[in-house]
Assembly symmetry: none
Homo-oligomer: 140 residues x 4
Protein backbone atom coordinates (compact mmCIF):
# COMPACT_ATOMS: atom_id res chain seq x y z
CA UNK A 1 0.00 0.00 0.00
CA UNK A 2 0.92 3.64 -0.39
CA UNK A 3 0.71 6.15 2.43
CA UNK A 4 -0.43 9.58 1.32
CA UNK A 5 -1.08 12.85 3.08
CA UNK A 6 -4.04 14.98 2.18
CA UNK A 7 -5.80 18.15 3.24
CA UNK A 8 -8.35 17.66 6.00
CA UNK A 9 -11.47 19.68 6.75
CA UNK A 10 -9.63 22.07 9.09
CA UNK A 11 -6.94 22.72 6.46
CA UNK A 12 -9.69 23.50 3.97
CA UNK A 13 -11.21 26.05 6.33
CA UNK A 14 -7.83 27.76 6.67
CA UNK A 15 -7.53 27.92 2.92
CA UNK A 16 -11.06 29.26 2.46
CA UNK A 17 -10.36 31.95 5.08
CA UNK A 18 -7.11 32.98 3.42
CA UNK A 19 -8.67 33.12 -0.01
CA UNK A 20 -11.76 34.93 1.24
CA UNK A 21 -9.66 37.60 2.96
CA UNK A 22 -7.72 38.24 -0.23
CA UNK A 23 -10.90 38.35 -2.33
CA UNK A 24 -12.42 40.85 0.07
CA UNK A 25 -9.27 42.95 -0.03
CA UNK A 26 -9.28 43.19 -3.82
CA UNK A 27 -13.06 43.63 -3.85
CA UNK A 28 -14.00 40.63 -5.99
CA UNK A 29 -16.48 38.13 -4.52
CA UNK A 30 -15.30 34.65 -5.49
CA UNK A 31 -16.26 31.01 -5.70
CA UNK A 32 -13.58 29.03 -3.88
CA UNK A 33 -13.19 25.23 -3.93
CA UNK A 34 -10.80 22.96 -2.05
CA UNK A 35 -10.12 19.38 -3.13
CA UNK A 36 -7.99 16.62 -1.65
CA UNK A 37 -5.18 14.92 -3.52
CA UNK A 38 -7.64 12.52 -5.14
CA UNK A 39 -9.48 15.44 -6.72
CA UNK A 40 -12.51 15.06 -4.45
CA UNK A 41 -14.21 18.14 -3.02
CA UNK A 42 -13.51 18.94 0.63
CA UNK A 43 -15.01 22.43 0.95
CA UNK A 44 -16.60 25.12 -1.16
CA UNK A 45 -17.80 28.66 -0.65
CA UNK A 46 -19.55 31.09 -2.95
CA UNK A 47 -19.12 34.57 -1.52
CA UNK A 48 -22.10 36.90 -1.88
CA UNK A 49 -21.85 38.13 -5.46
CA UNK A 50 -19.79 35.19 -6.69
CA UNK A 51 -20.88 34.00 -10.14
CA UNK A 52 -23.22 31.07 -10.61
CA UNK A 53 -21.17 29.85 -13.57
CA UNK A 54 -18.09 29.95 -11.38
CA UNK A 55 -19.38 27.26 -9.02
CA UNK A 56 -18.48 24.46 -11.38
CA UNK A 57 -15.45 26.29 -12.76
CA UNK A 58 -13.91 26.72 -9.30
CA UNK A 59 -14.56 23.07 -8.43
CA UNK A 60 -13.09 21.91 -11.73
CA UNK A 61 -10.03 24.15 -11.43
CA UNK A 62 -9.34 22.60 -8.05
CA UNK A 63 -9.98 19.10 -9.43
CA UNK A 64 -7.57 19.73 -12.28
CA UNK A 65 -4.82 21.23 -10.13
CA UNK A 66 -4.95 18.48 -7.50
CA UNK A 67 -5.52 15.62 -9.94
CA UNK A 68 -2.76 16.73 -12.31
CA UNK A 69 -0.47 18.16 -9.60
CA UNK A 70 -0.12 21.24 -11.76
CA UNK A 71 -1.36 24.84 -11.89
CA UNK A 72 -4.18 25.33 -14.35
CA UNK A 73 -2.44 28.35 -15.93
CA UNK A 74 0.42 26.03 -16.92
CA UNK A 75 -2.10 24.15 -19.02
CA UNK A 76 -3.19 27.45 -20.50
CA UNK A 77 0.27 28.03 -21.92
CA UNK A 78 0.71 24.40 -22.99
CA UNK A 79 -2.64 24.23 -24.79
CA UNK A 80 -2.38 27.25 -27.09
CA UNK A 81 -2.87 26.57 -30.81
CA UNK A 82 0.21 24.76 -32.08
CA UNK A 83 1.35 23.77 -28.58
CA UNK A 84 1.55 20.10 -27.52
CA UNK A 85 -1.49 20.09 -25.26
CA UNK A 86 -3.73 21.96 -27.69
CA UNK A 87 -7.29 20.68 -27.28
CA UNK A 88 -6.85 19.41 -23.71
CA UNK A 89 -9.36 21.99 -22.40
CA UNK A 90 -12.32 19.85 -23.39
CA UNK A 91 -10.98 16.64 -21.83
CA UNK A 92 -12.80 14.82 -19.02
CA UNK A 93 -16.13 16.20 -20.14
CA UNK A 94 -14.68 19.70 -20.03
CA UNK A 95 -13.54 19.37 -16.42
CA UNK A 96 -9.87 19.84 -17.36
CA UNK A 97 -9.43 23.55 -16.75
CA UNK A 98 -6.65 25.48 -18.48
CA UNK A 99 -7.61 28.93 -17.17
CA UNK A 100 -5.63 30.37 -14.28
CA UNK A 101 -7.00 30.09 -10.76
CA UNK A 102 -6.29 26.44 -9.94
CA UNK A 103 -3.24 25.57 -7.87
CA UNK A 104 -1.98 22.30 -6.44
CA UNK A 105 -0.96 22.30 -2.78
CA UNK A 106 2.52 20.82 -2.58
CA UNK A 107 4.12 19.70 0.69
CA UNK A 108 7.58 18.13 0.66
CA UNK A 109 7.28 17.58 -3.07
CA UNK A 110 3.97 15.73 -2.87
CA UNK A 111 0.56 17.00 -3.88
CA UNK A 112 -1.81 16.97 -0.90
CA UNK A 113 -4.73 18.74 -2.56
CA UNK A 114 -5.70 21.79 -4.55
CA UNK A 115 -7.63 25.03 -4.66
CA UNK A 116 -9.72 26.52 -7.43
CA UNK A 117 -10.98 30.10 -7.60
CA UNK A 118 -13.32 31.72 -10.10
CA UNK A 119 -15.37 34.88 -10.63
CA UNK A 120 -12.66 37.47 -11.31
CA UNK A 121 -10.09 37.85 -14.04
CA UNK A 122 -7.63 34.98 -14.37
CA UNK A 123 -5.03 37.11 -12.58
CA UNK A 124 -7.39 37.87 -9.73
CA UNK A 125 -8.39 34.22 -9.48
CA UNK A 126 -4.72 33.20 -9.34
CA UNK A 127 -3.96 35.81 -6.67
CA UNK A 128 -6.80 34.62 -4.45
CA UNK A 129 -5.88 30.96 -4.97
CA UNK A 130 -2.29 31.79 -4.00
CA UNK A 131 -3.54 33.46 -0.82
CA UNK A 132 -5.48 30.31 0.05
CA UNK A 133 -2.43 28.10 -0.42
CA UNK A 134 -0.21 30.48 1.54
CA UNK A 135 -2.63 30.50 4.48
CA UNK A 136 -2.34 26.73 4.67
CA UNK A 137 1.43 26.57 4.22
CA UNK A 138 1.88 29.20 6.95
CA UNK A 139 0.07 26.86 9.37
CA UNK A 140 2.52 23.97 8.94
CA UNK B 1 -39.87 41.84 -11.74
CA UNK B 2 -39.88 39.64 -8.68
CA UNK B 3 -37.91 40.26 -5.52
CA UNK B 4 -36.65 37.10 -3.89
CA UNK B 5 -35.00 36.38 -0.60
CA UNK B 6 -32.28 33.82 -0.49
CA UNK B 7 -29.64 32.41 1.81
CA UNK B 8 -26.40 34.36 1.81
CA UNK B 9 -22.89 33.15 2.55
CA UNK B 10 -23.19 33.94 6.26
CA UNK B 11 -26.47 32.03 6.52
CA UNK B 12 -24.80 29.09 4.87
CA UNK B 13 -22.02 29.13 7.46
CA UNK B 14 -24.63 29.09 10.24
CA UNK B 15 -26.29 26.11 8.63
CA UNK B 16 -23.01 24.26 8.13
CA UNK B 17 -22.12 24.88 11.78
CA UNK B 18 -25.49 23.63 13.01
CA UNK B 19 -25.36 20.54 10.85
CA UNK B 20 -21.74 19.84 11.73
CA UNK B 21 -22.46 20.06 15.45
CA UNK B 22 -25.30 17.57 15.12
CA UNK B 23 -23.20 15.21 12.97
CA UNK B 24 -20.43 15.33 15.55
CA UNK B 25 -22.91 14.65 18.34
CA UNK B 26 -24.29 11.53 16.65
CA UNK B 27 -20.80 10.48 15.58
CA UNK B 28 -21.34 10.37 11.81
CA UNK B 29 -19.01 12.47 9.65
CA UNK B 30 -21.13 13.99 6.88
CA UNK B 31 -21.05 15.76 3.55
CA UNK B 32 -23.17 18.91 3.89
CA UNK B 33 -24.28 21.17 1.04
CA UNK B 34 -26.18 24.46 1.08
CA UNK B 35 -27.89 25.85 -2.01
CA UNK B 36 -29.79 29.05 -2.60
CA UNK B 37 -33.36 29.27 -3.89
CA UNK B 38 -32.08 28.92 -7.46
CA UNK B 39 -30.63 25.52 -6.59
CA UNK B 40 -27.08 26.85 -6.92
CA UNK B 41 -24.38 25.81 -4.45
CA UNK B 42 -23.48 28.36 -1.77
CA UNK B 43 -21.33 26.27 0.55
CA UNK B 44 -20.16 22.71 1.02
CA UNK B 45 -18.18 20.79 3.59
CA UNK B 46 -16.99 17.21 3.70
CA UNK B 47 -16.17 16.41 7.30
CA UNK B 48 -13.16 14.14 7.86
CA UNK B 49 -14.49 10.66 7.15
CA UNK B 50 -17.42 11.80 5.01
CA UNK B 51 -17.95 9.55 2.00
CA UNK B 52 -16.58 10.41 -1.44
CA UNK B 53 -19.81 9.23 -3.05
CA UNK B 54 -21.75 11.55 -0.75
CA UNK B 55 -20.19 14.70 -2.21
CA UNK B 56 -22.45 14.67 -5.24
CA UNK B 57 -25.36 13.15 -3.34
CA UNK B 58 -25.36 15.92 -0.71
CA UNK B 59 -25.16 18.61 -3.38
CA UNK B 60 -27.96 16.99 -5.38
CA UNK B 61 -30.19 16.55 -2.32
CA UNK B 62 -29.85 20.26 -1.63
CA UNK B 63 -30.41 21.09 -5.29
CA UNK B 64 -33.57 18.98 -5.31
CA UNK B 65 -34.95 20.37 -2.05
CA UNK B 66 -34.36 24.02 -2.93
CA UNK B 67 -35.27 23.70 -6.60
CA UNK B 68 -38.47 21.78 -5.91
CA UNK B 69 -39.22 23.48 -2.58
CA UNK B 70 -39.81 20.06 -1.12
CA UNK B 71 -38.06 17.62 1.20
CA UNK B 72 -36.36 14.81 -0.69
CA UNK B 73 -38.01 12.18 1.51
CA UNK B 74 -41.39 13.43 0.29
CA UNK B 75 -40.28 12.39 -3.16
CA UNK B 76 -39.29 9.02 -1.72
CA UNK B 77 -42.89 8.37 -0.73
CA UNK B 78 -44.30 9.81 -3.95
CA UNK B 79 -42.00 7.78 -6.21
CA UNK B 80 -42.70 4.28 -4.95
CA UNK B 81 -43.86 1.72 -7.52
CA UNK B 82 -47.43 2.56 -8.49
CA UNK B 83 -47.26 6.09 -7.07
CA UNK B 84 -47.64 9.17 -9.29
CA UNK B 85 -43.96 10.19 -9.27
CA UNK B 86 -42.63 6.71 -9.90
CA UNK B 87 -39.40 6.94 -11.91
CA UNK B 88 -38.64 10.54 -10.97
CA UNK B 89 -35.40 9.47 -9.22
CA UNK B 90 -33.51 9.28 -12.49
CA UNK B 91 -34.69 12.67 -13.74
CA UNK B 92 -32.25 15.50 -14.44
CA UNK B 93 -29.45 13.03 -15.12
CA UNK B 94 -30.09 11.44 -11.76
CA UNK B 95 -29.78 14.71 -9.83
CA UNK B 96 -33.36 14.55 -8.53
CA UNK B 97 -32.86 12.85 -5.17
CA UNK B 98 -35.69 10.96 -3.50
CA UNK B 99 -33.69 9.74 -0.50
CA UNK B 100 -34.09 11.61 2.79
CA UNK B 101 -31.54 14.22 3.79
CA UNK B 102 -32.55 17.14 1.60
CA UNK B 103 -34.70 19.92 3.07
CA UNK B 104 -35.92 23.22 1.67
CA UNK B 105 -35.47 26.28 3.87
CA UNK B 106 -38.84 28.00 4.12
CA UNK B 107 -39.31 31.53 5.45
CA UNK B 108 -42.77 33.12 5.49
CA UNK B 109 -43.98 30.47 3.11
CA UNK B 110 -41.25 31.08 0.56
CA UNK B 111 -38.29 28.84 -0.22
CA UNK B 112 -35.03 30.71 0.33
CA UNK B 113 -32.68 27.78 -0.19
CA UNK B 114 -31.96 24.23 0.84
CA UNK B 115 -29.64 21.85 2.60
CA UNK B 116 -28.51 18.36 1.63
CA UNK B 117 -26.74 15.88 3.88
CA UNK B 118 -25.26 12.49 3.06
CA UNK B 119 -22.97 9.80 4.52
CA UNK B 120 -25.21 8.30 7.23
CA UNK B 121 -28.50 6.45 7.13
CA UNK B 122 -31.40 8.38 5.63
CA UNK B 123 -32.66 9.06 9.16
CA UNK B 124 -29.29 10.39 10.28
CA UNK B 125 -28.99 12.52 7.15
CA UNK B 126 -32.46 13.98 7.79
CA UNK B 127 -31.65 14.70 11.43
CA UNK B 128 -28.46 16.56 10.54
CA UNK B 129 -30.19 18.48 7.75
CA UNK B 130 -32.91 19.49 10.21
CA UNK B 131 -30.25 20.77 12.63
CA UNK B 132 -28.78 22.87 9.86
CA UNK B 133 -32.13 24.44 9.03
CA UNK B 134 -32.93 25.03 12.70
CA UNK B 135 -29.63 26.83 13.26
CA UNK B 136 -30.56 29.25 10.51
CA UNK B 137 -34.17 29.76 11.58
CA UNK B 138 -33.03 30.45 15.15
CA UNK B 139 -30.94 33.34 13.84
CA UNK B 140 -33.88 35.18 12.30
CA UNK C 1 -3.45 16.92 7.23
CA UNK C 2 -4.73 13.38 7.23
CA UNK C 3 -2.54 10.38 6.51
CA UNK C 4 -4.30 7.65 4.56
CA UNK C 5 -3.27 4.30 3.17
CA UNK C 6 -4.39 3.17 -0.23
CA UNK C 7 -3.94 0.33 -2.68
CA UNK C 8 -0.94 0.69 -4.96
CA UNK C 9 -0.42 -0.68 -8.46
CA UNK C 10 1.16 -3.91 -7.17
CA UNK C 11 -1.76 -4.51 -4.80
CA UNK C 12 -4.13 -4.02 -7.71
CA UNK C 13 -2.29 -6.67 -9.74
CA UNK C 14 -2.61 -9.13 -6.86
CA UNK C 15 -6.32 -8.43 -6.71
CA UNK C 16 -6.79 -8.79 -10.47
CA UNK C 17 -4.92 -12.12 -10.35
CA UNK C 18 -7.03 -13.43 -7.49
CA UNK C 19 -10.26 -12.38 -9.14
CA UNK C 20 -9.21 -13.69 -12.54
CA UNK C 21 -8.32 -17.09 -11.09
CA UNK C 22 -11.71 -17.37 -9.45
CA UNK C 23 -13.51 -16.26 -12.61
CA UNK C 24 -11.62 -18.85 -14.62
CA UNK C 25 -12.46 -21.53 -12.07
CA UNK C 26 -16.20 -20.84 -12.25
CA UNK C 27 -16.02 -20.40 -16.01
CA UNK C 28 -17.33 -16.84 -16.26
CA UNK C 29 -15.14 -14.26 -18.03
CA UNK C 30 -15.38 -11.02 -16.07
CA UNK C 31 -14.68 -7.31 -16.14
CA UNK C 32 -12.67 -6.47 -13.02
CA UNK C 33 -11.89 -2.97 -11.73
CA UNK C 34 -9.74 -1.83 -8.82
CA UNK C 35 -10.03 1.68 -7.34
CA UNK C 36 -8.16 3.44 -4.57
CA UNK C 37 -9.84 4.87 -1.47
CA UNK C 38 -10.64 8.08 -3.35
CA UNK C 39 -12.69 6.10 -5.86
CA UNK C 40 -10.14 6.62 -8.65
CA UNK C 41 -9.32 3.74 -11.00
CA UNK C 42 -6.02 1.96 -10.43
CA UNK C 43 -6.37 -1.08 -12.69
CA UNK C 44 -8.90 -2.76 -14.95
CA UNK C 45 -9.10 -5.94 -16.94
CA UNK C 46 -11.74 -7.30 -19.28
CA UNK C 47 -11.18 -10.99 -19.65
CA UNK C 48 -11.81 -12.46 -23.09
CA UNK C 49 -15.59 -12.80 -23.26
CA UNK C 50 -16.30 -10.18 -20.59
CA UNK C 51 -19.28 -8.02 -21.47
CA UNK C 52 -18.88 -4.59 -23.05
CA UNK C 53 -21.64 -3.20 -20.84
CA UNK C 54 -19.81 -4.52 -17.81
CA UNK C 55 -16.80 -2.27 -18.36
CA UNK C 56 -18.52 0.76 -16.87
CA UNK C 57 -20.52 -1.33 -14.41
CA UNK C 58 -17.40 -2.92 -12.93
CA UNK C 59 -15.66 0.46 -12.67
CA UNK C 60 -18.72 2.03 -11.04
CA UNK C 61 -19.19 -0.86 -8.61
CA UNK C 62 -15.62 -0.35 -7.47
CA UNK C 63 -16.10 3.42 -7.30
CA UNK C 64 -19.22 2.96 -5.18
CA UNK C 65 -17.69 0.41 -2.82
CA UNK C 66 -14.51 2.39 -2.21
CA UNK C 67 -16.17 5.81 -2.14
CA UNK C 68 -18.96 4.72 0.21
CA UNK C 69 -16.85 2.19 2.14
CA UNK C 70 -19.67 -0.27 1.69
CA UNK C 71 -20.51 -3.37 -0.36
CA UNK C 72 -22.78 -2.60 -3.29
CA UNK C 73 -25.13 -5.45 -2.35
CA UNK C 74 -25.80 -3.68 0.95
CA UNK C 75 -27.22 -0.83 -1.09
CA UNK C 76 -29.30 -3.36 -2.99
CA UNK C 77 -31.10 -4.34 0.20
CA UNK C 78 -31.35 -0.75 1.46
CA UNK C 79 -32.79 0.58 -1.79
CA UNK C 80 -35.72 -1.76 -2.34
CA UNK C 81 -39.13 -0.13 -2.74
CA UNK C 82 -40.21 1.18 0.65
CA UNK C 83 -36.68 1.03 2.09
CA UNK C 84 -34.84 4.20 3.20
CA UNK C 85 -32.40 4.36 0.29
CA UNK C 86 -34.99 3.68 -2.39
CA UNK C 87 -34.00 5.58 -5.52
CA UNK C 88 -30.30 5.84 -4.71
CA UNK C 89 -29.41 3.66 -7.72
CA UNK C 90 -29.63 6.58 -10.12
CA UNK C 91 -27.50 8.93 -8.00
CA UNK C 92 -24.20 10.39 -9.26
CA UNK C 93 -25.33 10.10 -12.85
CA UNK C 94 -26.13 6.45 -12.29
CA UNK C 95 -22.65 5.64 -11.00
CA UNK C 96 -23.99 4.61 -7.58
CA UNK C 97 -24.27 0.84 -8.01
CA UNK C 98 -26.61 -1.19 -5.82
CA UNK C 99 -26.05 -4.53 -7.55
CA UNK C 100 -23.74 -7.03 -5.89
CA UNK C 101 -20.14 -7.30 -7.07
CA UNK C 102 -18.56 -4.23 -5.48
CA UNK C 103 -16.60 -4.60 -2.26
CA UNK C 104 -14.59 -2.13 -0.21
CA UNK C 105 -11.12 -3.24 0.87
CA UNK C 106 -10.88 -2.68 4.61
CA UNK C 107 -7.57 -2.78 6.50
CA UNK C 108 -7.54 -2.08 10.24
CA UNK C 109 -11.01 -0.58 9.98
CA UNK C 110 -10.12 1.87 7.22
CA UNK C 111 -11.12 1.69 3.58
CA UNK C 112 -8.01 1.53 1.37
CA UNK C 113 -9.79 0.93 -1.94
CA UNK C 114 -12.33 -1.25 -3.65
CA UNK C 115 -13.01 -3.86 -6.31
CA UNK C 116 -15.87 -4.13 -8.76
CA UNK C 117 -16.74 -7.18 -10.84
CA UNK C 118 -19.34 -7.58 -13.56
CA UNK C 119 -20.40 -9.97 -16.34
CA UNK C 120 -21.89 -12.86 -14.34
CA UNK C 121 -24.84 -13.14 -12.01
CA UNK C 122 -24.71 -10.91 -8.95
CA UNK C 123 -23.68 -13.93 -6.88
CA UNK C 124 -20.88 -14.80 -9.28
CA UNK C 125 -19.72 -11.19 -9.37
CA UNK C 126 -19.65 -11.10 -5.56
CA UNK C 127 -17.73 -14.38 -5.38
CA UNK C 128 -15.07 -13.15 -7.79
CA UNK C 129 -14.81 -9.79 -6.02
CA UNK C 130 -14.37 -11.61 -2.72
CA UNK C 131 -11.54 -13.66 -4.25
CA UNK C 132 -9.83 -10.46 -5.35
CA UNK C 133 -10.03 -8.95 -1.89
CA UNK C 134 -8.85 -12.18 -0.27
CA UNK C 135 -5.81 -12.35 -2.53
CA UNK C 136 -4.79 -8.90 -1.34
CA UNK C 137 -5.49 -9.50 2.35
CA UNK C 138 -3.47 -12.73 2.22
CA UNK C 139 -0.46 -10.71 1.10
CA UNK C 140 -0.42 -8.45 4.15
CA UNK D 1 -21.04 -10.79 -41.71
CA UNK D 2 -17.60 -9.44 -41.15
CA UNK D 3 -14.81 -11.21 -39.31
CA UNK D 4 -12.63 -8.90 -37.31
CA UNK D 5 -9.40 -9.36 -35.46
CA UNK D 6 -8.95 -7.58 -32.20
CA UNK D 7 -6.59 -7.41 -29.27
CA UNK D 8 -7.31 -9.98 -26.57
CA UNK D 9 -6.59 -9.80 -22.85
CA UNK D 10 -3.15 -11.38 -23.25
CA UNK D 11 -2.21 -8.90 -25.97
CA UNK D 12 -3.28 -6.09 -23.69
CA UNK D 13 -1.00 -7.39 -20.94
CA UNK D 14 1.93 -7.42 -23.38
CA UNK D 15 1.18 -3.84 -24.32
CA UNK D 16 0.84 -2.72 -20.72
CA UNK D 17 4.17 -4.38 -19.92
CA UNK D 18 5.92 -2.73 -22.85
CA UNK D 19 4.51 0.68 -22.04
CA UNK D 20 5.22 0.31 -18.32
CA UNK D 21 8.85 -0.62 -18.99
CA UNK D 22 9.31 2.45 -21.16
CA UNK D 23 7.61 4.71 -18.61
CA UNK D 24 9.85 3.35 -15.88
CA UNK D 25 12.90 3.89 -18.05
CA UNK D 26 12.09 7.55 -18.70
CA UNK D 27 11.01 8.02 -15.08
CA UNK D 28 7.43 9.14 -15.69
CA UNK D 29 4.63 7.15 -13.98
CA UNK D 30 1.80 6.85 -16.47
CA UNK D 31 -1.84 5.97 -16.90
CA UNK D 32 -2.05 3.39 -19.70
CA UNK D 33 -5.23 2.19 -21.39
CA UNK D 34 -5.78 -0.51 -24.02
CA UNK D 35 -8.96 -0.69 -26.10
CA UNK D 36 -10.12 -3.14 -28.73
CA UNK D 37 -11.12 -2.24 -32.28
CA UNK D 38 -14.60 -1.33 -31.04
CA UNK D 39 -13.12 1.34 -28.79
CA UNK D 40 -14.02 -0.63 -25.67
CA UNK D 41 -11.61 -0.86 -22.76
CA UNK D 42 -9.65 -4.11 -22.41
CA UNK D 43 -7.11 -3.18 -19.76
CA UNK D 44 -5.95 -0.20 -17.76
CA UNK D 45 -3.18 0.55 -15.33
CA UNK D 46 -2.35 3.64 -13.30
CA UNK D 47 1.25 3.36 -12.22
CA UNK D 48 2.06 4.67 -8.74
CA UNK D 49 2.27 8.43 -9.22
CA UNK D 50 0.18 8.53 -12.40
CA UNK D 51 -2.19 11.49 -12.44
CA UNK D 52 -5.83 11.20 -11.42
CA UNK D 53 -6.87 13.43 -14.30
CA UNK D 54 -5.00 11.13 -16.68
CA UNK D 55 -7.26 8.14 -15.96
CA UNK D 56 -10.01 9.41 -18.23
CA UNK D 57 -7.58 11.05 -20.64
CA UNK D 58 -5.66 7.82 -21.25
CA UNK D 59 -8.87 5.86 -21.75
CA UNK D 60 -10.21 8.50 -24.13
CA UNK D 61 -6.97 8.69 -26.11
CA UNK D 62 -7.16 4.95 -26.64
CA UNK D 63 -10.86 5.17 -27.48
CA UNK D 64 -10.13 7.88 -30.04
CA UNK D 65 -7.18 6.09 -31.64
CA UNK D 66 -8.91 2.73 -31.95
CA UNK D 67 -12.32 4.12 -32.85
CA UNK D 68 -10.96 6.51 -35.48
CA UNK D 69 -8.05 4.24 -36.55
CA UNK D 70 -5.80 7.26 -36.25
CA UNK D 71 -3.15 8.63 -33.91
CA UNK D 72 -4.47 11.34 -31.62
CA UNK D 73 -1.59 13.67 -32.54
CA UNK D 74 -2.80 13.55 -36.16
CA UNK D 75 -6.01 15.12 -34.92
CA UNK D 76 -3.94 17.72 -33.12
CA UNK D 77 -2.53 18.93 -36.44
CA UNK D 78 -5.87 18.65 -38.23
CA UNK D 79 -7.79 20.58 -35.57
CA UNK D 80 -5.71 23.76 -35.37
CA UNK D 81 -7.53 27.04 -35.96
CA UNK D 82 -8.39 27.29 -39.64
CA UNK D 83 -7.82 23.58 -40.29
CA UNK D 84 -10.65 21.28 -41.45
CA UNK D 85 -11.15 19.49 -38.14
CA UNK D 86 -11.06 22.62 -36.02
CA UNK D 87 -13.33 22.14 -32.98
CA UNK D 88 -13.30 18.34 -33.08
CA UNK D 89 -11.63 18.21 -29.64
CA UNK D 90 -14.92 18.75 -27.84
CA UNK D 91 -16.79 16.11 -29.85
CA UNK D 92 -18.32 13.05 -28.17
CA UNK D 93 -18.65 14.91 -24.88
CA UNK D 94 -14.96 15.75 -25.01
CA UNK D 95 -13.88 12.13 -25.47
CA UNK D 96 -12.28 12.79 -28.85
CA UNK D 97 -8.69 13.47 -27.88
CA UNK D 98 -6.39 15.49 -30.14
CA UNK D 99 -3.37 15.48 -27.84
CA UNK D 100 -0.56 13.04 -28.58
CA UNK D 101 -0.41 9.76 -26.70
CA UNK D 102 -3.11 7.74 -28.45
CA UNK D 103 -2.12 5.23 -31.16
CA UNK D 104 -4.13 2.74 -33.16
CA UNK D 105 -2.74 -0.78 -33.40
CA UNK D 106 -2.59 -1.72 -37.07
CA UNK D 107 -2.08 -5.28 -38.33
CA UNK D 108 -2.13 -5.99 -42.07
CA UNK D 109 -3.74 -2.65 -42.69
CA UNK D 110 -6.56 -3.23 -40.23
CA UNK D 111 -7.06 -1.59 -36.85
CA UNK D 112 -7.20 -4.22 -34.12
CA UNK D 113 -7.24 -1.85 -31.16
CA UNK D 114 -5.49 1.09 -29.58
CA UNK D 115 -3.44 2.39 -26.72
CA UNK D 116 -3.68 5.65 -24.81
CA UNK D 117 -1.08 7.05 -22.45
CA UNK D 118 -1.22 10.12 -20.21
CA UNK D 119 0.62 11.80 -17.32
CA UNK D 120 3.76 13.07 -19.05
CA UNK D 121 4.35 15.57 -21.81
CA UNK D 122 2.69 14.78 -25.12
CA UNK D 123 6.07 13.58 -26.42
CA UNK D 124 6.58 11.28 -23.44
CA UNK D 125 3.05 9.96 -23.74
CA UNK D 126 3.61 9.20 -27.43
CA UNK D 127 6.92 7.47 -26.72
CA UNK D 128 5.36 5.22 -24.10
CA UNK D 129 2.38 4.47 -26.30
CA UNK D 130 4.76 3.53 -29.13
CA UNK D 131 6.60 1.15 -26.79
CA UNK D 132 3.31 -0.52 -25.94
CA UNK D 133 2.42 -1.03 -29.58
CA UNK D 134 5.92 -2.29 -30.40
CA UNK D 135 5.78 -4.88 -27.61
CA UNK D 136 2.64 -6.30 -29.17
CA UNK D 137 3.87 -6.21 -32.77
CA UNK D 138 7.07 -7.98 -31.74
CA UNK D 139 4.96 -10.86 -30.43
CA UNK D 140 3.30 -11.58 -33.77
Amino acid sequence: MISVQRLDAADAQLMLAGARACATEIGVPMCIAITDEGGNLVAFERMDGGKVTSITIAIDKSFTASGAKRATHDYGAASQPGAPAYGIASAIGGRLMVVGGGLPVMVDGACVGGIGVSSGTADQDMQVARAGVDAFLASL
